[in-house]
């Protein structure tokens, strides 16, 4: 069964070092995984922590854009957050403007669900990061963007769904989305950044399904039979 979207909630803050989302309902379906996506207007924060419903998460390896750009994106993940009405919270040192999204999915691997975590930064639109995936995976991303004025974010990836999108100000936006791997080859979460002189930091991670994904067969396969022949029968 493919990883499936469950629910999401988001909030934004001015000069904050903690954010908590509104309550949202986490499914009671099996194999739930939660992800927190954080967009920050600055890059010097440390000491990140996060949870959904009190289930602590950990930084998803490879997704923290750090100081690669003037804004920052990163993702936290946890396995099996509690079902029912829950909130998502992240805390850090050094207050900045921030956008926080919490998202839950189900039918996800419970041992090592977060694969291929990565980030990309740039100074042009669109923001796009490509991952190699397998059928059944769900790719999630978080983006922080900045422009000289009149900024906006518009989801642009084929099959990508925006889960939260906050135009905090003309010069800072944060958003997050998810998209399923239809062909199990490559997947490219993408956002169009409005305004002039855009900058972005985009974090992306692949969520593996419970039971493993299905790799795509990209070349003809040859079947071989080996065995001993006695008479005219294969044994």
């Amino acid at each position: 069964m493919a990883v499936s979207f469950d629910n999401a909630a988001s909030t934004s803050g001015t000069a904050v070092s903690t954010l908590t989302t509104p309550a949202f309902t986490v499914t009671s379906s099996a194999n739930v995984v939660g992800v927190l996506g954080l967009s920050l207007s600055g890059t010097t924060s440390t000491g990140f922590s996060g949870d959904i419903g009190g289930t602590a998460g950990a930084a998803i390896a490879g997704t923290d854009s750090g100081a690669a750009q003037t804004i920052r994106s990163l993702m936290f993940g946890m396995v099996a957050p509690p079902s029912g009405s829950q909130t998502g919270t992240m805390s850090w040192t050094t207050a900045f403007n921030a956008v926080l999204g919490a998202e839950t999915v189900f039918a996800a691997d419970q041992t090592a669900p977060f694969q291929n975590g990565t980030f990309k930064t740039g100074t042009s639109s669109p923001a796009i990061t490509t991952l190699s995936t397998m059928i059944g995976d769900l790719t999630m991303d978080t983006i922080a963007a900045s422009e000289a004025g009149g900024g906006s974010l518009t989801v642009a990836g084929t099959g990508q769904t925006s889960r939260w999108n906050v135009t905090f100000s003309a010069t800072f936006q944060g958003a997050g989305g998810s998209m399923a791997s239809a062909d199990g080859i490559k997947i490219s979460p993408s956002w169009t950044i409005g305004g002039v002189s855009p900058k972005f930091a985009q974090s992306v991670v692949d969520i593996s399904p419970s039971g493993g994904g299905i790799p795509t067969m990209t070349a003809p396969r040859t079947l071989q039979f080996k065995g001993d022949m006695i008479g005219r029968r294969w044994l």
Partner: protein, 115 residues
């Protein structure tokens, strides 16, 4: 919602209030002008009722560090805040209430704005 002044240590509650009908966003802002000499983080949060106060759900929260903060233009940041969307435009049954949590006596205020 919490008038300006010295806030006692612990949790100070505000509300419930009824936002203007049709409101779709709520911002809860903390006045930073008295935080220069504070030493502890401050937290504030909100709850939402859509049934006239019968049931409540957590509806956003934030925390901030003490001290003087400046923006990219080195101008003092006068407030910290969080903003959330309401699940539907506010009606006569929509209510908000919340809290301010401090670990030391600090001069501040909380303001609720809707949009």
């Amino acid at each position: 919602m919490i008038a300006s002044g010295a806030q006692a240590v612990g949790v100070t509650s505000w509300g419930p209030i009824t936002p203007p009908v049709g409101s779709v966003t709520v911002t809860v802002a903390l006045d930073r002008s008295g935080l220069a000499l504070a030493t502890q983080n401050i937290f504030w949060a909100q709850e939402l009722s859509t049934d006239g106060g019968l049931t409540w759900l957590p509806w956003g929260g934030a925390g901030t560090e003490p001290g003087n903060l400046v923006d990219d233009l080195l101008q003092p940041i006068t407030e910290s805040s969080f903003t959330v969307d309401l699940p539907a435009p506010a009606d006569a049954n929509t209510q908000l209430r919340g809290s301010l949590t401090t670990s030391e006596i600090v001069a501040t205020a909380l303001t609720v704005r809707t949009g």
